[in-house]
């Protein structure tokens, strides 16, 4: 393999072509910057497509609403741990970004008078928690799908350059610690390249697949988080994960809350309706986190079902075949396909399942990545940005409000694009690449290329996922985490494997000083 890689130059390079990456790229391409968007899958196959609920924005089309009420709901939803300045910005900007999408041609559902229809959603309230309000703008139950296609088409129009089936490898940092691009692999040919950029934006989505039970698609492996960690930068709030209480055991597919709304109940191995003990009033309709914790408690105390006692049961058969066939057809479909159980006759095995990553790469409201330096906890890392689920702005705190995930993508994708445009990069020269720009990636690729033996990646990953599930699941305490950390490192052989990366960083750090 050559000592270095061929170099391509762009004003901006974006890693990831989901909603956040494509909203940012659109802003840049329309301003005339040269933009490359790398994606390991075709852009419209990004996981954004799975978002069903909608986009929260206080348009007030159904009844009176205010961005302040949306802000209150978001902060309360975050368990008061979100960044309130960032939340204020997001909720204030929500209406503008939704109308923009409407003008881009996104086919939102409408009211008879032509205004955008807004649907009710859990946690959305008027007048600071007083009564429910309809705030979610949606395209049937395929809002993410419509968003992704709208953005892709606009990007094609704006001449964004897509590098499809390209895998980003490492960030390139120079002696000042600035980010000047990425190394990447074209998967079809196996050729590695340097993408030299004035701005590098990570939009790689969540890392839900690091857990054994996850609702996320296979591609959600948190590649951007790994790149940032390998570049010696810290991540934020990585303990904050949202669980969905009812994922099909062993598969991860979501069983919507509507099932419990229709009267479905949760049972433990003794056939007991255990939610009556944990939430005597709301029972099976208690909020997501309460239900998840109760289920986990039952399993931990040995009342789980199945040969490994590791799931509980969602019982529907008492609703009768008519209700199930008429009102919950897709749930029946999913259960038969992925749990091998027809809910008309038998209960569905379910477990609390990883759904959304609140933490990630720390950024400010402009999408600039920040890290502690010289006593400043929020010192900007020049040249590096992050948007979407991989970023932690942090507008979700400890728990994301429903419909705020798509909102996060478009608000901060656009804000980051606008900030980079305002920096007038077009006129600025590229910062030179360091001499060893490709060294870390080259060494890693060479090691893999030359390896004649070793373990299978998927086997190592499976062990790692099980460890994370057991030690960093619904309940996390000091004992579990202290035990799980070293175990995860052992699973991944980090102790041996990171040796050369650490040495490499140390050399770079020494030069920076």
């Amino acid at each position: 393999m050559a000592k270095s890689f061929p170099v391509m130059h762009f004003d901006a390079v974006i890693v990831g072509a989901g909603g956040a990456g494509m909203r940012a790229s659109l802003q840049l391409a329309e301003a005339g910057l040269s933009v490359a968007v790398l994606s390991k899958v075709f852009p419209t196959r990004s996981h954004t497509v799975a978002a069903q609920g909608g986009i929260g924005a206080s348009l007030g089309n159904m009844s009176e609403d205010s961005w302040l009420w949306h802000m209150y709901d978001t902060i309360k939803g975050s368990d008061w741990l979100g960044d309130q300045d960032a939340i204020e910005y997001m909720c204030k900007t929500a209406a503008d970004v939704v109308y923009e999408l409407e003008h881009f041609g996104m086919p939102f559902d409408r009211n008879d008078d032509g205004t955008l229809y807004q649907r009710p959603f859990g946690g959305h309230s008027a007048n600071f928690g007083q009564k429910p309000v309809q705030r979610a703008c949606a395209v049937a139950d395929r809002t993410g799908h419509a968003l992704l296609h709208t953005l892709y088409q606009r990007n094609v129009r704006a001449r964004t350059q897509f590098l499809v089936e390209w895998m980003a490898l490492d960030l390139i940092r120079d002696a000042d610690g600035d980010v000047v691009g990425v190394t990447a692999l074209e998967m079809e040919t196996g050729e590695a390249m340097i993408l030299h950029a004035k701005a590098t934006i990570l939009a790689t989505g969540g890392a839900g697949r690091i857990f054994a039970a996850s609702t996320n698609a296979f591609i959600n492996t948190g590649d951007g988080l790994g790149m940032v960690a390998r570049a010696g930068l810290p991540l934020e709030d990585m303990e904050m994960w949202q669980f969905h209480p009812t994922g099909v055991a062993g598969a991860g597919i979501l069983i919507t809350e509507a099932v419990r709304g229709e009267g479905g109940i949760l049972l433990n191995a003794n056939g007991e309706r255990f939610m009556e003990r944990y939430a005597p009033n709301l029972k099976d309709l208690a909020s997501r986190d309460v239900v998840s914790r109760s289920m986990d408690q039952e399993i931990k105390e040995g009342r789980g079902c199945g040969p490994h006692k590791d799931y509980v049961l969602l019982k529907l058969d008492h609703l009768g075949p008519d209700v199930i066939i008429k009102r919950l057809p897709s749930i029946r479909e999913i259960s038969i396909k992925f749990a091998n159980a027809d809910p008309i006759k038998e209960p569905i095995p379910v477990v609390p399942t990883i759904h959304y990553m609140m933490g990630g790469i720390p950024t400010n409201v402009h999408g600039q990545v920040v890290a502690p330096k010289d006593g400043d906890p929020n010192s900007v890392v020049p040249g590096l940005f992050a948007v979407g689920e991989c970023a932690c702005v942090s507008v979700h705190g400890a728990n994301r409000l429903g419909t705020n995930s798509l909102l996060d993508l478009i608000v901060f994708g656009r804000a980051t694009g606008n900030f980079i445009v305002s920096e007038n990069l077009k006129a600025a020269p590229h910062k030179p690449l360091p001499g060893d720009a490709a060294e870390a990636s080259r060494a890693r690729l060479a090691r893999i290329d030359n390896a004649t033996s070793g373990e299978s990646v998927s086997a190592v990953a499976d062990t790692l996922r099980k460890t994370l599930q057991a030690h960093c699941g619904v309940f996390r305490n000091q004992g579990l985490l202290s035990e799980g950390g070293p175990r995860a490192a052992r699973d991944a052989h980090l102790d041996q494997r990171s040796q050369q990366d650490v040495q490499h960083r140390a050399r770079r750090g020494a030069r920076a000083r």
Binding site: V49, A217, F218, A251, K337, F338
Partner: protein, 87 residues
């Protein structure tokens, strides 16, 4: 598609490429396609690969609607859709 060794079956590299293209935005599709490839990948025919390519070009929701039986496929891809439905 150029077949290099056994004219009837795919080589490892071709199968690996198909497996990667079966990474989708919806977990439902990921799981079904992975199951199908685990069971039938080694014996895929050229004809089946062509049908699979056609199906993979659909959006995630269209593909899942077909697999879940919410709508019916074109005759040209029906044999493969039938396989995916029982995968």
């Amino acid at each position: 598609m150029k077949i290099e060794s056994d004219p009837n079956f795919l080589d490892d590299r071709q199968l690996a490429r198909i497996r990667w293209r079966c990474r989708r935005g919806l977990l439902e599709n990921d799981l079904i396609l992975a199951r199908f490839l685990d069971a039938k990948g080694a014996t895929l025919t050229e004809e089946q690969v062509a049908m699979l390519d056609t199906l993979l070009a659909l959006t995630d929701n269209e593909l899942w609607d077909l697999i879940a039986g919410r709508c019916e496929p074109e005759a040209s891809v029906r044999p493969l859709v039938d396989e995916l439905r029982i995968a």
